[in-house]
Symmetry: C2
Subunit: 296 residues, 2 copies
């Protein structure tokens, strides 16, 4: 095949770019880097922290970009606030994964929260966050926060029924270790631990390029006994396709209007209006997920 | 600097990937390609058509990705339908640019439309679309459609006052030739040609990485005499940041609810609910654009 742009390629300095191929859809995302700040093989994964030119620092796990300082606020706010603002009184919160502490910080913005447990498999991720992403860890000293470094699935299985009001699953993609965080066995345990009044929020991949994965997650959640589901969609520029989703599962999620508190949070992306708007799905997504016309 | 991922790089076949750097923010987007179907230097620009592995065919102008068969429906639907569904009775429509005919096809879905003129500078773009993107050109034979290959700015300047109900500016980025499509001189002519009841829709770049450009476009529109503006945001996976915007300008755009016809269009992304939801801007965007809290 003919070279596509020999001019630009000649100037392209490979060593300066982080490149992440999304092989299943033949796309690629890259960020120009200034420095590799951390390059560590933990017991669980390959952990890197990069200094990028225009996106601040970036955390990379096994070659996949997890977050950048420039745009992680969108993902973290949208994974946490719609869930906490849909629950009547979220007091006890469990975060599964989320070792970078970004979700934890958002959870702790809610005055109703009395206790939040973060169960992360890989302690090195949290240590790297403390060192390189201090802004994400600024609430780590809050006495309401509790850190457990262990397998989230085992923790949920061991927890007593009704222990938490909200569970947030801030996982990597459904491959390898993390795949078990996307199936009905795990979701059933979450349902038991939440009770009927609780609410589960899971990151549910891209509505564009992972639509069948998203549909699968919703199928597993329904099979696990959650009677009501709501998928929210939002931009996430540094994730594949630049478009991401979160799915809420619980007793009356579809009916829930965000609590008035939504308007009082110190957020950059989220608001009560954004909450409601992000639940409106484009036609092709709604159709693929079996939403009936007119409903959200 | 340490090589970032020597493993994957070794397997990376440069000649098979279209790579588009977004140099101002140090990011890069790529698509795996199977074949270069067209590589032509027109009087105006470098025009390429690529066969990609998973995004269908792609059109590239001067190294910038204009559209792919997989995701162009989002951009085209969101540039056209919010405008036409906000106008009470859009009968006469002008498209400035848009040589790929994707906007034209969407405009012609509206029964109210009696005449639509597409003014594209580069005839070769339209010829390439006819040959390689026949689905975008499927309405080109509609007797309501009229093709002019000329400078859009001159055409608007020459048009009589009140000639069109809606003008759609489907331009490339505000650099080079296209920069003049983003300033108040051009917008003032649009305002004259539209009259007080008309409506202008312009593609207004990324809310994430071009926020100051978007704010600038709105400033120019206001300076040109448009009393009311509304920016809509939506995902566009193959454009920089994966997130894009359209800005509507007219007499009562901010008040307008989409016409009921919005629900009857044969669309894949757009709907009346999507129209309303896409006008809700995330906090940081609204703040940068001077929206007051509570308004959209």
């Amino acid at each position: 095949m003919k070279a596509l742009d020999p001019g630009w390629r000649a100037r392209f300095d490979h060593a300066r770019w982080f490149l992440e191929p999304c092989e299943e859809v033949g796309s690629l995302f890259g960020l120009e880097c200034l420095e590799v700040l951390l390059d560590e093989h933990t017991p669980w994964q390959h952990l890197q922290v990069l200094e990028t030119r225009h996106f601040g620092r970036a955390m990379v796990l096994d070659g996949f970009l997890m977050l950048t300082q420039r745009d992680n606020f969108i993902y973290h706010e949208m994974l946490v606030h719609p869930a906490l603002c849909s629950h009547r009184q979220p007091r006890r919160v469990l975060i599964v994964g989320g070792g970078d502490c970004g979700c934890l910080r958002e959870v702790l913005r809610h005055d109703t929260v009395e206790r939040v447990v973060q169960v992360e498999l890989d302690e090195r991720v949290t240590r790297a966050a403390e060192r390189f992403f201090p802004e994400l860890c600024e609430a780590n000293d809050d006495p309401r926060a509790e850190f457990v470094f262990a397998d989230g699935i085992a923790c949920v299985a061991d927890a007593a029924a009704g222990t938490f009001d909200v569970i947030i699953v801030d996982s990597t993609d459904p491959i390898g270790q993390a795949a078990r965080l996307f199936d009905r066995t795990f979701y059933r345990q979450c349902h038991r631990v939440l009770g009927d009044a609780g609410l589960l929020a899971v990151q549910s991949e891209s509505p564009m390029i992972h639509l069948e994965v998203l549909a699968g997650i919703r199928g597993e959640l329904a099979a696990a006994g959650f009677p009501s589901l709501a998928t929210l969609q939002f931009p996430q520029p540094t994730y594949p396709s630049g478009w991401w989703s979160v799915t809420l599962a619980g007793g009356d999620v579809l009916e829930a209007e965000p609590r008035p508190a939504a308007g009082q949070l110190d957020t950059r992306f989220y608001s009560g209006e954004v909450h409601t708007a992000s639940r409106v799905l484009p036609s092709f997504v709604g159709k693929a997920l079996g939403y009936s016309a007119g409903s959200d």
